[in-house]
Each structure stands twice: as structure tokens, then as C-alpha cells.
Symmetry: C2
Subunit: 199 residues, 2 copies
């Protein structure tokens, strides 16, 4: 690619392979790391290798973790009676940032999508049923994405788990906080109206 | 920062420290690396560590390199009679991408800027004079940036090297290729007029 000193070119190339990193940013990162104190580069290098080598699925919730059970499942202060079901590990991060949920999670690692050949058997649903049989769970919060695949997955899980006598809820659809009514799409407005609550 | 499995959170943090990488991109990169084949993460990790540990200045041109002299200075097919003087290693990459220059480079690692306390003695000018005394150089192309600091540096170098009997040239100022006259700033237009050439 570049007629440039070997290791520098290789470093730029490796960074430009990453999602969301264009060639200019890759170059900026590379020169930043070459000029930064040695420990900055070492810390990044070690973080990448350690994370990749030690990452596994939590045997309880299937979230990505290096210790098993993960720090959330292993936290005695969290309620084991409520499980929030999400599609991806990044959804757990988003929920945790909101600090609004103190129960446990279950990560499906995807959503049902017949178009992409993803059926229920490809998701961590067997693991979820195992949990429901072992632990006393009072409520399942279905927090899959509010789109076709996420809704289909939520519907599938609701049908599967309600017969077990567990309360099953779906996160609310509606207008995002700070949004403008005039810019909201029709489907969201419809959902917001349907989900209206008395004040 | 995040109540998330240790190594994942650390990985996201390390990436969000990099220039041009926001928290969302850092998260996206982290999960990409955790899901990618092991060798993708290892290659990035190794590239960062190897580059940082082996990088040094080329003893000839002061560009960043892991082998000395660098691959450009050590390339027998390149003309040693012309030296293109640039401010930063990234400028060498930009020039090389244009494939329009087949001589050697000299990297100053900055430009004269009294406001920032950067005088000529902080740049690789001593090293340049050493080259000019050792090698038979016919032309110096001053390719510092077309701004106050770059122009001042070019002027300083021209005064310093012309007495040695070397041809000293400055890269042309003008309209970028593909630009629109109506959006060009006045100074650039003036330079473009001054530098007009017969067709």
C-alpha cells in the first residue's frame, strides 16, 4: 500500500481495517502512538491481546466476560428475580449506563431473522430456559430492539416463557426524551399514543 | 467508567483514548476485535507493540523507520540529487502516495514558530546541513506547509542553503485540483494568479 518504513505502514494498515476508522484516522492514530510514551502503546497492545485471549461467554447470562460468572451475575446486590433480555453485549453496556436496572441480564447474541437464516436455535435461548428452570425468576423484561427482528424475537420468547408462569414485559416504545414531535416518524407516534399513560 | 466485565471495559477505554475515536467507535472496535478471529486481534496488538518498540529516526532523513537507513534513503533507484524537505512523517506519506517524486526526503519534525517557542534549533536542520556537506545535492524542494510557520521555515532554509550553491525551490501555491474558483479564498487566488504559467 505505502512505500513507507515497514512497521509504520503496517501499523496504519492494521488500524484502517477497524470498523469506523478511515485511512486518515488510522494514520493519525499510528503517529499518535509512535509519539506517545511507550506505556501508552503497550497498554493498548496488551488490552487487545488480553481481552481477545481471555474473553468467553458468562455461563449464566452469556454476556462477554473474562471471569465466570461475570461481574453482574456474581454481584449479590443485584436482584436475581428479574432478567432483562437483550440482543447484544453492547445493549448491556447501554442499559448499565442508564443506571435504571438492578436485575440480571441475558444476552441472546442476535435476534430471530429468517431472512438471514437465524432461527431461535442460533440464539442463547436454551441457556435462558435452563436459567428459568433453575432459578426463581419473577419477571422477564424483553429489551430486544424495537424493529422487525427484535419484535419477532420478543413475541417468540413471550410465547415460550409465559406458560412457565413468569411475568413477561416488553420495554416501552415511544418518543425519545428530548425529541421533537414534528420530526418523529408515524410508527413511533402511533406507538407513543398507544402507550400513553395517565398523569 | 462501566460496570462491565473487566477486560472488555478496559479495551473500550484504551480505544476511546485514541485521537479521532469517540466512545461509540471505541465500543464498536472492541466488540469487532472480540468477535473477529484471534489472529486479527493478535496482529493489531503486535503491530502496535513492534512499531512503538522499534521506531527510530532515520540517521539520514530523520523520517520514522525501524531500519536504518530507511527504505527510501536505502533505495538505489531514487535520485540522491534532489531532497524534498517536509515538516512531518505524514507529509512523506502524502508525497509518496502522489507518486510524483523520486528523490529523497528530509523530515524537519516541525516548523519554525516563535509563538510556540520553536526555533530552528528544535528542527532537524543540523542534520540537513550535514547531508548537504556530505552528499552532492543539486536541488532542495521546500515542501513545508503553505502557512505562516511553513513559509517562515522555507524562507529560513532558503537563506541558509542558497549560499552553498544549491538550487532551492518552493512547491507551488494555487487552486487544488477539482476546486471551484468561487469558493477559493482570496490569498489562494492571488497565489494562483502570481504563479500562472504559459500554456
Amino acid at each position: 500500500l505505502l512505500n513507507h518504513a515497514g512497521v509504520v505502514g503496517r501499523l496504519i494498515n492494521e488500524f484502517s481495517m477497524l470498523p469506523g476508522v478511515g485511512p486518515k484516522t488510522a494514520q493519525r492514530i499510528a503517529f499518535y502512538l509512535l509519539n506517545a510514551p511507550e506505556e501508552v502503546a503497550h497498554r493498548l497492545s496488551d488490552a487487545v491481546r488480553e481481552a481477545r485471549d481471555n474473553i468467553k461467554y458468562c455461563s449464566v447470562c452469556s454476556n462477554l466476560t473474562d471471569i465466570d460468572p461475570c461481574t453482574i451475575c456474581g454481584n449479590d446486590k443485584r436482584s436475581k428475580a428479574v432478567i432483562c433480555i437483550v440482543q447484544e453485549p453492547r445493549d448491556v453496556i447501554a442499559m448499565e449506563k442508564s443506571r435504571s436496572f438492578k436485575g440480571l441480564y441475558h444476552v441472546l447474541h442476535g435476534a430471530i431473522s429468517p431472512m438471514d437464516g437465524i432461527g431461535p436455535e442460533k440464539l442463547k435461548i436454551k441457556e435462558l430456559l435452563g436459567r428459568l428452570h433453575k432459578e426463581k425468576v419473577e419477571e422477564l423484561i424483553l429489551a430486544t430492539n424495537p424493529n422487525v427482528e427484535g419484535d419477532a424475537t420478543a413475541l417468540y420468547l413471550a410465547r415460550l416463557t409465559k406458560p412457565l408462569g413468569i411475568k413477561v414485559t416488553r420495554i416501552a416504545h415511544g418518543l425519545p426524551v428530548g425529541a421533537y414531535l414534528e420530526y418523529a416518524d408515524g410508527v413511533t407516534l402511533t406507538k407513543a399514543l398507544e402507550g400513553r399513560q395517565e398523569m
